[in-house]
Amino acid sequence: MSTTDSVAWPETRIGPRPLVERLHGWVTTVDHKRLGILYVFYGFTFLLIGGVEAAVMRIQLIRPHNDFVSPQIFNQMFTMHGTTMIFFVVMPIVFGLANYLVPLMIGARDMAFPRLNAFSFWLTAFSGMFLYYSFVGGYGLYGLGTAPDVGWFAYAPLTAKTFSPGHSTDFWTLSLLVSGFGSIGTAVNIIATVLSMRCPGMTLGKMPLLVWLNLVMAGLVILAIGPLTAAQLMLLVDRYLGGHFFDTQAGGSAVMWMHFFWVFGHPEVYVLVLPAFGVASEVIPVFSRKAIFGYPIMVAATIAIGFISVSVWAHHMFTVGMSAGGNLFFVLSTMAIAVPTGIKIFNWLATMWGGKIHFKAPMLFCVAFLFQFLIAGLTGVMLGSAPFDWHLGNSYFVIAHFHYVIVGAILFAVFAGIYYWFPKVTGKMYGERLAKLHFWLFFIGFHLTFDFMHVPGLLGMPRRIYTYEPGRGWDAWNFVVTVGVFFQAAGILAFAVNLVRSYLRGRPAGSDPWDAWTLEWSTASPPPEYNYASIPVVKSRRPLWDLKHPEDPDWKYE
């Protein structure tokens, strides 16, 4: 141990500080980069937990009349899996990416409100742990722990005291309430940062697309989380104060809960997917060696998605029964949102068209993202038409559709982003071969699971059943679906091993390993605490291109 030798070199304390001190540094940090890393690390931890829950469900369904877990446990598994994956995996990860990248990309030294930033993270962290505490404390003093089992959208009146005794539902609603406050804090921070912390020369029209997409995402969080918070407050009033909001016996309405939940729930999908679009919009140009195609249209399409996404919520409720006018409105608005998303897909394709494409791991994930997001969008249009939805609502077809969005599009883009910025965050290069192994394992596993999941849905298999009769034509499909899970798990294992090994023993990456064009690549890897020694000045959308090619800068053409 050389720590005692510090007397010999009083002013150069290069050796690592004691572990406790370093941990204390992480816990009390207000640095946007550290908080970003914490968010992503936290999200991936919960990804493992949520993944185990998914695996439990799939093992239970691998053959008819299986009794791997009890129906009660199965109900808890799908509730916890859904809640975890949305609120404690994807949201923290996209917030983490935004936290880390937005200030770097706009040439700022930190977020606008660093302490609010830390507060939001710890609220989110606390609410996730609170939710999982229900496994040991769901019945409180009765000594019998139980997790929430009302489904991730917790339809009334199942959540009423009568039907959901004990405290498991309270854990669910309080945890989402608290994480909602954290999300609003982060969204406020992102908006304030983007609007007031940009470096000289970076007009709104010169911001990287990732920043634009996160700005619109933050706006949607502001609009969408409020209704969720309000609905959770009403549920608390019902459960604790004896209120009647969702009490159908006293004139309350269960359908109101559905409306309130989905007014939050559908914009939420776009909260999750817009940052994924942002990653694709940064990675695809760099690995195609071309500037992004149609930048202004990309921004316009983003804002259009933001607007339309708040008016499509009731397409989750076609099977509940609405007036013909209601059905028509929500069918048309759902179809309309396919237009700006289609524009985006074509723009990414046009960016790749004629480019010199490098199939490094981030690009592989982005190409898969493009195809899978297209298919997810197509089944989305199918389900968005009410007559079709009457047949397939609540079936495994719906499950396959939204997992195509959340895994096939969002998670693939997240992996692309992690590999792309890993050298910047750690200063080390990740292992390319292991990354490709991760890609192929996860890609095969994803398609085995979610391609074949559409079919039992079409054959009439409803969601959330814990077992099924043999001989309905579902058996083989369910078997294949479960086999895919093991491939995905192996892929995640390769991913984890790769990150840990590269962090410990990767070769130094240098400040700009991809020959990229946005500001974050102009500072050291990992960036110093203050990001930039002097605040950069930009003249175009690709400031590093201008630096590298002074004879042919971008600003001459924009």
């Binding site: 304030a192 989380i225 209704p227 309000a230 009033v237 019902d238 004896g242 004139g251 309130f260």
Partner: protein, 173 residues
């Protein structure tokens, strides 16, 4: 702050929608006819918007003493409003027998007005904190921008009351 206000607005919108949707749907018990519009206390709250505006303007002109007076007047008016809500609730609970669990009207009424009263309370705490700073001489003209943010929140609380008042005491009856 504008973003926070947007998020808060979304929460209030949902409660207002719930109130309007459930008007007249109560299975039994008192109806909105038992309500009496609290005109005097509403005037108190609304005029506190004007006093806080005067306070911030005074601070911008570096008149710290005048700032403190207008600021305290704002707290007083806000406190009066809160007391008014308390009296009204006391009347409803004791004389009319309407509580949050009586019927659907009670549930929606107390949660909507209560949500607003909660925001008034939060605003009063913020105002009191600033006045504590002012008491010890820590509020100076260069802090006008920060004080302005608090006043923005207070204006929001007032505007919400205009909406809640119209919904509960005008449209809802």
């Amino acid at each position: 702050m504008y973003s926070v206000i947007a998020a808060e607005t979304a929460i209030f919108v949902i409660f207002v929608v719930a109130y309007l949707f459930y008007v007249g749907k109560s299975a039994s018990g008192p109806t909105p006819a038992v309500l009496h519009a609290p005109i005097f206390f509403s005037v108190c709250l609304l005029s506190s918007s004007w006093t806080i505006h005067r306070a911030v303007t005074a601070l911008k002109r570096a008149e710290v003493g005048s700032f403190a007076r207008w600021w305290l007047a704002t707290i007083l008016l806000g406190g009066l409003f809160l007391a008014g809500t308390g009296l009204e609730w006391r009347h409803l609970i004791v004389d009319e027998g309407l509580t949050i669990r009586t019927n659907l009207f009670g549930t929606t009424y107390y949660s909507l007005v209560g949500l607003h009263a909660f925001h008034v309370t939060a605003g009063l705490i913020a105002l009191a904190t600033v006045s504590l700073f002012a008491l010890f001489g820590h509020v100076k003209p260069e802090h006008a921008a920060r004080v302005d943010v608090v006043s923005l929140y207070w204006h929001f609380v007032d505007v919400v009351w205009v909406v809640v008042f119209s919904v509960v005491y005008v449209v809802g009856r």
